[in-house]
């Protein structure tokens, strides 16, 4: 009985122009979106592989610890093709340094896009669904009940010996299924487009998430449809129902998504970026002061001890006395550098925290509008929210600790290997600095020119000497958990899902309750 009614609803919906127009547009636009998203993904995979190669080369070539500074590079996520969120498809990188906590994922965007491109918004499949399919759900639902009353067909329908609950449920089911059909077509097409890209490889976990994304979207469409059917059951006439639905769509979609972030920026006391810059300058100024104070008490050897080839941040062929002095300098400064890193991070965190809170507010309050709620839920599934970015950031910080531990274990800070790769017993460029006059040190003096030629020759030999490379075979690998597990992700979705399900349920109940006592005249 109910199924024949569902079939009737389905056929009526599918045969209208409105559905076919929307179907064509949805499929074209989501396909288009996925094509550019997928191309963008390929580009990012290429840049990820580039970065990875550079990193590997660096680790193979590096000869002193100071130049090591490894970078964690995380691969772009294929699910972001569909749901870009905050993270997007760009690979994340986190550079590990001693006197800094690294740029980290927190600042991820600044080093990839120019400031100009940041002014632009990026589309994804989720946006097309949120805008277009939800609109279709409204158009199918707004005259579902009052429209039939106005045309008089409702009266006819109710003269049949069918329970009213069946009629309204059939309307709901029929409408929802007719929405699922275009969505499923678009979704499958987009999946095929993505899979046609050889770079896209979904893991088992990704497939599960894609399945959940499909279910989530079906639920969202059902929610919007039942909400507009509820409006249809309560509204005076179709015109009023349409106006209510359209404006709810406009305000809840476009309005909310542009007003909420703008307002959230002013609910928090931002600390001006300049404040951090000033603090940072102050920390460096103090550092230079401390260093020069130490240098006053421990005067460095004369210039002649420092002659050598000092290029690319690496010293070679300096006098051992200079190296001894640098080692002591290093041992003294390392503690300060670590302190500085902590202080600078705190200063930076002080300016970041309010900004992060602002962005969190948007995610948190998204539940108030069905459209933004769906978007944020989808981004949580695809692991592209701010939360996921920070999750990766914490894993990066943990690795920094491990890495520093490793350097300490190697006594890297206290040895000359920090700044030079000269082997013990290396002949310096100036063997007897104490007997050198300033005249001899002039770069155009014959003595210096002769020594310089010697050093350049030695430099060539040293560059080819594989024995100078650092042995990094025991360096700890980044193996931290930097992405939420599926259970974790679903956990963060609880509130949004609850709101979605409750409003869906409430809309269905209200519609049914109203329809049972509906006057078809």
């Amino acid at each position: 009985m109910i199924w024949s009614l569902v079939r009737k609803e389905l056929l009526t919906n599918l045969l209208t122009y409105r559905l076919s127009i929307a179907l064509v547009f949805t499929i074209v636009l989501s396909a288009l979106t996925t094509v550019i998203g997928s191309l963008d993904y390929s580009r990012n995979v290429a840049s990820y592989e580039d970065e990875l190669r550079n990193q590997r080369e660096l680790i193979e070539q590096v000869t002193i610890y100071e130049r090591l500074s490894p970078t964690i590079i995380l691969p772009p996520q294929p699910l972001a093709i569909f749901a870009r969120g905050v993270v997007g498809v760009a690979p994340l990188s986190y550079d590990i340094r001693i006197d800094d906590y690294g740029r980290g994922p927190e600042q991820l965007f600044s080093n990839r896009d120019s400031g100009y491109m940041k002014a632009l918004i990026q589309i994804d499949f989720i946006t097309v669904v949120t805008v277009l399919l939800s609109f279709l759900a409204i158009v199918l639902g707004f005259d579902g009940i009052c429209g039939e009353r106005e045309r008089g067909t409702l009266k006819q329908l109710l003269t049949n010996p069918i329970p009213r609950a069946y009629v309204v449920l059939a309307k709901l089911i029929g409408g929802i299924i007719s929405l699922w059909i275009p969505f499923t077509l678009a979704f499958v097409l987009c999946l095929l487009i993505a899979l046609a890209n050889v770079n896209v490889v979904f893991s088992g976990d990704d497939w599960l998430r894609l399945g959940l994304l499909y279910l989530l979207t079906c639920l969202f469409l059902a929610q919007i449809f039942s909400l507009s059917l509820a409006v249809s059951a309560f509204a005076r006439d179709t015109d009023t129902a349409l106006i209510i639905c359209l404006f709810a769509w406009l305000v809840g979609g476009v309005g909310y998504i542009s007003a909420l972030p703008s307002f959230s920026r002013y609910g928090h006391d931002e600390i001006p970026h300049q404040h951090y810059v000033d603090q940072n300058d102050e920390i460096w100024r103090e550092w230079r002061q401390q260093v020069s104070h130490w240098e006053e008490q421990n005067p460095p050897p004369a210039d002649a001890y420092w002659e050598g080839i000092n290029r690319d941040g690496r010293r070679r062929f300096n006098h051992p006395t200079a190296y001894r002095w640098l080692e002591r300098h290093q041992a003294n400064a390392m503690g300060m550098r670590a302190d500085n890193a902590d202080r600078r991070y705190q200063a930076r965190y002080g300016t970041w925290d309010p900004l992060a809170q602002e962005a969190y507010v948007v995610d948190r309050w998204s539940a108030l509008s069905p459209f933004t709620n769906y978007q944020v839920l989808a981004y949580r599934l695809a692991r592209t929210t701010l939360d996921d970015l920070f999750y990766a950031g914490r894993a990066g910080q943990d690795y920094r600790d491990t890495y520093i531990q490793y350097l300490r274990g190697k006594n890297a800070f206290g040895s000359q290997r920090w700044f030079t790769d000269d082997p013990p017993g290396q002949e310096p460029m100036i063997p007897q600095p104490e007997s050198i006059t300033t005249d001899m040190l002039r770069s155009d003096a014959p003595y210096m020119m002769e020594r310089m030629a010697w050093a350049e020759e030695q430099q060539r030999l040293a560059n080819d000497d594989a024995g100078r490379r650092l042995d990094l075979s025991d360096m700890p690998k980044f193996g931290g958990r930097w992405q939420r597990s599926l259970g974790d992700s679903v956990g963060t979705m609880t509130i949004g899902l609850a709101v979605l399900l409750l409003s869906f349920g409430a809309a269905v109940l209200l519609t049914v309750a109203r329809f049972l006592r509906y006057d078809p005249q």
């Binding site: 600044s110 009023t240 002013y266 300049q274």
Partner: protein, 469 residues
């Protein structure tokens, strides 16, 4: 025609959808007023802080030599019309680092607080309200302008009168346009009032000019969407079909195209880092060759012995590469601009952005605002160099080797004499030049929409009959 106009005007004012539209528009504009009140206040205090640090940098300068090696910051002043059109103000670099010394150069930086994590949202300025909300309201008001009357059968009654079809259509169109434009004017005045009450904008002639620019462009844009809606309304003959068709078009033009421009631009034009490498290589190669030939700055007393020969050679070489380094630096920025221009061209496919860029161009904001700033930065650097050079010339004890700290005048320099940067807005002729393409496309699109609507009215069978759908 004016009878139709009057009739429609009255219909509009009485209709629920117009009343709701008005409320929604006003809500958006009030939101804009409140947001920008807070924003401008924050901006003023932040800019004061930035300028203070900038001033401190200059005041720390003690001599001509020291000034030659000081990095000075200059700040790009806001146009004061950000509440009308943000035009990237949030994201574009705000500061230029300027160093008079040769061989180093200018660098752009963002110093105003920006929240990168909020990148996926637009800011609620007037142009956003027009682009999204007003265009949508045009559709809501006019999607059944004809199909509705067709369905209700009232069209037959109207057509029975001796009214030319064009007059009928134009009357309806003008009535819709008038109601919408008055609503927008009302809303923007409320927003302006909120800002003016907080003392955050001064209602001077320049502002009213900007206001009229905005209102005129918004009128054109609204006309475009109204005409499009009315034309579709005739052709579709069925209100629901017309609505779905219009909203899908709206989604394509207003949502999809502008949001796809980022991806298209980053695909078609990728920034290569090789210019940075080229620049670094040029600098280090020069440095190395100078080192090899022994032409590096030495201690003062050694250098004085041979009349600063090595230092002079050094300075000459640095001056030679100065132009090259600066050109490379400019090309890096130019590449970024060019990538953004590609995105702008994609955006221009959307009438929403034809409107947006028309307003931006005439207000002197957007990319031209950055380009203008870059040019001023160069001029300021030259000015600074000339000033320091002149001061150095007047000191007989100085070795006169320009822009080498230790070999310039060490005489005390009163920091208040150092020229300060004063930014100037984009000149009018340049605004018009930038606006040429977007304004023309907005006009052409509106005229096309007019012809489309007229054509639809003339060919359509308006006498009613059975319904389709």
């Amino acid at each position: 025609m004016w009878t139709i106009f009057n009739l429609q005007l009255h219909d509009n004012l009485r209709s629920l959808r117009f009343q709701v539209s008005l409320v929604v528009l006003l809500l958006f504009f009030v939101g804009n007023g409140i947001i920008y009140s807070m924003k401008i206040e924050r901006l003023v205090s932040e800019d004061a802080m930035i300028e203070q640090t900038m001033e401190r940098r200059i005041e720390d300068v003690s001599s001509v030599g020291a000034a030659a090696e000081t990095w000075v910051q200059i700040l790009n002043q806001e146009t004061g019309t950000e509440f009308i059109s943000e035009a990237g103000f949030n994201w574009f670099p705000s500061v230029l680092w300027v160093n008079p010394e040769y061989g180093t150069n200018l660098g752009y930086q963002t110093l105003r607080t920006t929240n990168n994590w909020m990148r996926r949202f637009e800011v609620l300025d007037w142009t956003l309200i027009v682009r999204y909300v007003l265009s949508f309201l045009c559709i809501v008001l006019a999607y059944n302008a004809v199909s509705g009357e067709l369905e209700r059968g009232t069209l037959r009654l109207v057509m029975a009168n001796p009214v030319p079809r064009a007059a009928f259509m134009l009357g309806k169109f003008l009535a819709h346009l008038a109601t919408l434009v008055v609503s927008v004017a009302l809303g923007s005045l409320i927003s302006l009032a909120i800002l003016a009450l907080g003392g955050l904008v001064s209602l001077d002639a320049a502002l009213w000019l900007s206001y009229m620019t905005f209102l005129l462009s918004a009128t054109l844009f609204a006309a475009l969407f109204l005409l499009l809606s009315m034309g579709v309304s005739v052709l579709a003959r069925n209100s629901a079909t017309s609505l779905v068709f219009l909203v899908t078009i709206w989604t394509l033009l207003i949502v999809v195209i502008p949001q796809a421009s980022y991806l298209v631009a980053t695909q078609t034009m990728q920034l290569d880092d090789s210019r940075w490498d080229e620049m670094n290589e040029l600098q280090s190669a020069t440095w190395e060759s100078l080192q090899r030939e022994g032409s590096v700055p030495r201690a003062m007393e050694i250098a004085a012995a041979d009349g600063y020969a090595a230092e002079r050679r050094f300075a000459r070489r640095m001056r030679e590469i100065d132009g090259q380094v600066n050109r490379l630096r400019d090309q890096i920025e130019e590449d970024r601009w060019e990538q953004f221009r590609v995105a702008r061209r994609v955006n221009l496919l959307s009438p929403g952005y034809a409107f947006q860029y028309s307003v931006e161009a005439l207000l002197g904001s957007g990319l031209q605002w950055m380009e203008n700033f870059g040019r001023q930065g160069h001029r300021y650097r030259e000015h600074l160099q000339k000033f320091l050079r002149a001061r150095d010339e007047s000191d007989p004890t100085s070795p006169h080797i320009p822009f080498l700290q230790d070999f310039m005048s060490q005489e005390e320099l009163d920091p208040s004499l150092i020229p300060r940067f004063q930014s100037t807005p984009v000149p009018l002729e340049q605004r018009l030049e930038t606006g040429l393409v977007p304004i023309t496309s907005l006009l052409v699109e509106t005229i096309l929409a007019l012809f489309f609507a007229l054509w639809a009215f003339h060919r359509a069978e308006l006498s009613g009959g059975e319904q389709v759908g």
